[in-house]
């Protein structure tokens, strides 16, 4: 069976563009969560977001990205950075496959296009307005920009979109159906999306108990903070990476996913399903639970999903609970891009040998139901060797990736 190595990462993130700025800001403890400046939030109860600021797409692709929407710009620039990081030539890039993961893609653009159409009529709509409006246009743009000849697909699976894209890449490489794949995810923090999540009561807000904020596992948590950006990883078959003489950042060794939502499952059944998916990912990686040093949780500050994940981890790992990282307290919820964001952090951490911040709540603030999971007896080792990356979507997708230090 062929092995799948991560050989490059690129990101346009609220904590910086490119791996150095992003990772250094992250491990130095800077937070992506700030007051939103891109649109007016004064009529909402929530005002925070993980905004990408000062992004200049022309730095990456010259004038090619004029007229494109923010999601496609994030995607393209992140891919360009990942390709450069991996040292891929234009020919090697062209010979790659592309898997894009996104929960909402260009939906905000489609809404504004439809609003204009309904108000002003079809004669006022110009073809260029729709150039980057369809749900598949982002992947089309990057496949043309990078002259991709192999294949290109977009997977949408809510908050697990890029977890599943990475899992798909692992399987395609393992089975020899592909040799090199660029996996990327992107999301945009738009007023439309903000309104919708606000209406669904999913955004963190200030209460008498606590200020507005991203507080996974905290007893006062009441929602998540939206974040945006683009994250890309180049995944290569072991022999191909070896032939190029590159030192991989990390290896993807396991993946499993499934549906744990819906109205037909009891809480216990959901927990059982979620635990079985974690176990399936371990089996897929031929790893024992005791070998896992660190878990990048999906936890984002929502009450029930955080608890479900906690209990699932407890069922699989107790009594040898690994360290738990709640990276979304620092980054916000990047929804469909979150798997690629987490995997980028994990790959850099495994490669550089620097551990990420765990961002646990102070012990007096921990949700008592999550206490046993967060109270690990083993402090995080200086250089984690084997990590799990979780993704849990609101509709019920749960995905679990395993990354290992390159050996």
């Amino acid at each position: 069976m062929r092995r799948a190595f991560i050989t490059g990462v690129g990101m346009i993130s609220p904590l910086g563009e490119g791996r150095e700025a992003f990772f250094n800001n992250l491990i130095e403890g800077r937070s992506a969560v700030r007051e939103i400046e891109g649109f007016d939030t004064s009529s909402f109860n929530s005002h925070l977001g993980g905004e990408v600021r000062g992004f200049k797409p022309e730095i990456y692709m010259g004038r090619k990205m004029r007229g494109l929407n923010r999601t496609t710009r994030f995607l393209t620039a992140a891919m360009k950075l990942a390709v450069e990081d991996a040292g891929l030539s234009p020919e090697e890039t062209s010979d790659s496959g592309v898997i894009v993961g996104t929960a909402f893609g260009n939906s905000a653009h489609a809404i504004t296009y439809a609003q204009k159409l309904l108000k002003e009529g079809p004669d006022e709509m110009f073809p260029l307005d729709a150039m980057d409006m369809p749900s598949n246009s982002s992947v089309n743009f990057v496949s043309v920009f990078f002259a991709i000849k192999n294949f290109a697909r977009t997977i949408s699976a809510g908050f697990t979109s890029t977890h599943d894209a990475l899992g798909n890449a692992l399987q395609l490489i393992r089975t020899g159906r592909a040799k090199r794949i660029i996996v990327a995810g992107m999301e945009q923090l738009s007023p439309e999306l903000f309104t919708i999540f606000n209406q669904r009561g999913l955004l963190a807000r200030a209460t008498e108990e606590a200020a507005e904020g991203a507080r996974p596992f905290n007893k006062t948590r009441n929602g998540f903070v939206l974040s945006e950006g683009g994250y890309a990883l180049t995944i290569e078959e072991d022999q191909l990476a070896g032939a190029r003489g590159v030192k991989p950042l990390a290896e993807i060794t396991g993946f499993a996913n499934g549906f744990v939502g819906g109205s037909k499952l009891s809480s216990n059944q959901r927990l059982e399903r979620l635990s079985s998916i974690i176990n399936a990912s371990l089996a897929n990686a031929a790893a024992r639970s005791s070998e896992i040093d660190l878990i990048y949780t999906s936890a984002n500050g929502l009450r029930d999903p955080d608890l479900l994940e906690c209990l699932g981890l407890q069922a699989v790992f107790q009594p040898e609970m690994p360290s738990i990282c709640a990276i979304k307290s620092q980054m916000g919820e990047a929804y469909g891009a979150s798997g690629a964001m987490q995997a980028s952090v994990a790959a850099l951490s495994l490669s550089i040998g620097k551990k990420p911040l765990l961002n646990p709540p102070a012990s007096e603030d921990v949700d008592p139901a999550c206490h046993s999971v967060l109270k690990t007896k083993n402090p995080l080792v200086e250089s984690p060797q084997k990590v799990i990356i979780n993704g849990l979507d609101l509709a019920g997708n749960f995905s679990c990736l395993i990354l290992e230090k390159y050996k």
Binding site: T102, L117, N136, I155, S276, A395
Partner: protein
């Protein structure tokens, strides 16, 4: 491992189940009509192959005024599930059944929600807009209703969304991730999509005429197509009816242009060859091609060249018929619907016609099965989907 097709579900402009749709396709009935789901008074062109309203309640989020993508997907999937008996006797564990769907998304539902507010951005959206915005909710609702716990995914790849969903599900079975897949595609005729093609002057005014000298563009359509794929050994063990085998798929990208295919059909030809290789078949084995065949000037000539590249001396002997001439182009659902049609050609040994083909185009000189269906042994059928942006997926189904 062999993988077989054990259930089919179909909704098109000319039928609300497989039997109705197949009969209409064989008889060459055209589904084009005046659009009713939105006001076309400000448009020069007003026709599409819309699915007539289906007065059947469904247990998932939809809208009283339109049949949503989710509704069409649910009904077609339900037909395929009933046809296959996949849930009978709890033969499969729910976690061993997956779901994958190709679509452009709940665009019509979004539009309907916005119409209620005059297109303004309100501080609180209509609930249906929330449902429309979350692309993942369609598949989540289907998994919830059908009680499956295996992998779920939505594929957003324009015209090749459905075949991406099929290929993805095929891989999940052959890699032993699941035992069976409920796979399909669904889309409606959405106003923003119609507007875009209309203003690009890419729409046919009256009829869709693939491969005809006077073809003027594509005809938008709506519909849904679903297949049940299963491991062959398990399907046989449970005594399932088997329509055909899915032999393999191939894919490629043109990497050429956002809206135009490579003029030589180079990317399409590579996808076809990859599908043959993946299926361990030769071009000599294929008895029928269901082409992308949109009726646009560029697609049909490029695809004709691609077929010639692959089929060489057999190029003029292989029947190539575009069913889009009858049911239009149901966008993200098109290639899933055409996969179902390809399965039916293998099962029935009948090839539907390309209708509205009146004036031969010197650039399109293959056997397009003009205007009249044909009975012939179909050992293997090839289904081409060549999306905008040069995103190509080809699937091969064969006799079991």
């Amino acid at each position: 491992m062999r993988i077989v097709v054990t259930g089919l579900g179909l909704i098109t402009a000319t039928g609300t189940n497989v039997a109705e749709c197949w009969r209409s396709l064989v008889e060459g009935i055209e589904g084009v009509r005046e659009i009713t789901s939105f006001d076309t008074s400000k448009y020069k062109l007003k026709r599409a192959c819309e699915v007539p309203r289906i007065e059947k309640p469904v247990p998932i989020a939809t809208d009283p005024k339109i049949d949503s993508v989710g509704k069409l997907a649910y009904l077609a999937a339900q037909e395929a599930i009933a046809d296959s008996g996949i849930f009978a006797r709890e033969f499969y564990k729910p976690e061993r059944i997956g779901l994958s769907v190709g679509t452009l998304g709940e665009v019509s539902l979004m539009e309907e929600a916005l119409r209620r507010t005059g297109g303004d951005v309100p501080m609180a959206f209509d609930n249906n807009l929330i449902n429309a915005f979350s692309l993942n909710l369609i598949i989540g609702a289907l998994a919830d209703q059908f009680g499956t716990f295996g992998s779920v995914s939505t594929h957003l790849n324009g015209c090749s969304s459905g075949t991406h969903a099929v290929a993805y599900g095929f891989d999940l079975i052959r890699d032993d991730v699941v035992d069976a897949m409920i796979i399909g595609g669904a889309d409606t005729v959405a106003q923003i999509v119609f507007t875009n093609f209309h203003n690009l002057k890419n729409l046919a005014p009256e009829h869709c005429q693939p491969f005809d000298l006077n073809r003027k563009g594509l005809m938008l359509g709506g519909g849904a197509g679903f297949l049940i794929l299963e491991r062959e050994d398990l399907a046989r063990k449970r005594g399932a009816k088997i329509y055909c085998e899915m032999n393999g798929y191939g894919w490629s990208c043109d990497g050429y242009h956002l809206t135009s295919p490579h003029p030589d059909g180079e990317g399409g030809a590579r996808a076809m060859q990859n599908a043959l290789d993946n299926s361990k078949l030769s071009y000599k084995d294929i008895d029928y091609v269901n082409p992308h065949g949109t009726g646009t000037l560029l697609n049909d000539s490029a695809e004709t060249r691609a077929v010639k590249t692959i089929f060489r001396e057999r190029a003029y002997d292989v029947p190539v018929s575009s069913t889009k001439s009858m049911i239009g182009h149901p966008m993200g659902a098109a290639s899933a619907i055409e996969s179902v049609i390809a399965c039916l050609t293998v099962h029935h040994n009948i090839v539907p016609p390309t209708i509205n083909l009146e004036t031969p185009d010197p650039d399109c000189d293959l056997d397009y099965v003009p205007n009249q269906y044909r009975e012939l042994p179909v050992r293997y059928a090839m289904n081409n989907s060549f999306s905008f942006g040069g995103n190509n997926v080809v699937i091969i189904f064969g006799k079991f």
